[in-house]
């Protein structure tokens, strides 16, 4: 890892973000979002400067993380925290786009989100199904529409695309022998969304903004629960429910 810091401008979730980075992971994964030709008149919406002194002081708490890993994770937290001021938030989910509509598959770690979206790609083909972000898609309300966005922060894999797709549905996964899908009621949907949304600092102000956004999401798009096993039948069931005309 080089010791120089690079300060670059990026456009992420349609916001101008200035990031001062050092490590390979962050630099590589942010490349698709780089803004070419820095404009002096342009406003920077978000500044992200990881505090490496903090990492040095607390290195023992993260023995499994290199400075590069830590930078990648920390800048991600800073980003998802910042977008709350711009009608946006992150959701712990694997997000796919199909026919210009985004579907987010959410749930706790290990539930099978990536496995499920991978099956969609196998079933319909990679030209039809694109992974927007495999771990933390950003949702942003713009002009009364909720969009799902790719970001450089995609978890373990470098699976994300610098695209914006209108949100169609959110599906919470549960592991099950039998495949079943149902629409969640308001309270259930609310609970699941709060659990899986990213709100790093959790100050009352940020939590309040997050709840306002979640309320809007619940008003505008359907939230489902999919009990499923690993297979194409589960994909078909979800596809028919979400995309087929009722």
């Amino acid at each position: 890892m080089t010791s120089n810091r690079n300060t670059k401008l990026y456009k992420i979730t349609n916001l101008i973000v200035e990031i001062r980075s050092r490590g390979e992971i962050l630099t590589k994964r942010s490349k698709p979002y780089e803004v070419q030709g820095r404009s002096k008149e342009g406003t920077v919406n978000i500044f992200i400067v990881p505090d490496f002194e903090e990492f040095e002081r607390n290195k023992d708490i993260y023995p499994h993380l290199t400075a590069e890993d830590w930078e990648y994770i920390r800048t991600g937290f800073a980003f998802y925290d910042s977008i709350l001021d711009f009608n946006g938030f992150g959701l712990h989910a694997s997000a796919l786009a199909m026919d210009d509509r985004a579907v987010l598959f959410s749930g706790p770690c290990g539930i099978g989100k990536s496995t499920h979206t991978r099956l969609w790609q196998q079933r319909f083909g990679k030209s039809k199904v694109v992974i927007i972000n495999d771990d933390k898609p950003a949702l942003r309300l713009e002009n009364d529409i909720i969009y799902a966005y790719g970001t450089p922060w995609s978890g373990k894999n470098d699976l994300h695309k610098n695209i914006r797709v209108p949100l169609e549905a959110i599906v919470f996964l549960k592991q099950s022998q039998e495949n079943r899908i149902r629409r969640l009621g308001y309270k259930e949907g609310l609970r699941m969304l709060i659990y899986q949304s990213l709100c790093p600092r959790k100050t009352p102000e940020k939590m309040d903004k997050l709840l306002t956004l979640i309320e809007l999401v619940l008003k505008k798009i359907p939230v489902y629960q999919l009990d499923c096993n690993i297979g194409f039948q589960a994909v078909g069931l979800a596809y028919n429910r979400i995309f087929a005309w009722e």
Binding site: Y186, K187, L190, R191, I194, Y195, K202, T203, P204, M207, D208, L211, I214, E215, L218, K219
Partner: protein
């Protein structure tokens, strides 16, 4: 008794939700949904209150019989205690 510091009560559509904020997130990782009377009691409990004071307030605010209200309040307090939300 009163509720612990650091919880945010928000009204959303036809329900109320309580979420931990700041340091409280270390103690409580859940989400509580409340109905109208529950939210009313929660707000009262942001300051020190006795069961008697809660009973008086709720019977004044809602058209409910004292005996019913008593049972509901006890139940509500037990729930909060079980989730370790009261001091």
């Amino acid at each position: 008794m009163k509720v612990k510091e650091g919880y945010l009560l928000r009204e959303l559509a036809d329900t109320f939700v309580v979420v931990p904020t700041g340091k409280a997130t270390l103690d409580f990782s859940g989400v509580i949904t409340l109905n109208g009377p529950g939210a009313f009691l929660w707000k009262l409990l942001s300051e020190e209150k006795t069961e008697g004071e809660l009973l008086k307030a709720i019977t004044e605010e809602y058209e409910v019989e004292v005996e019913t209200a008593k049972v509901d309040i006890v139940e509500f307090i037990e729930k909060l205690k079980a989730a370790d939300l009261l001091v």
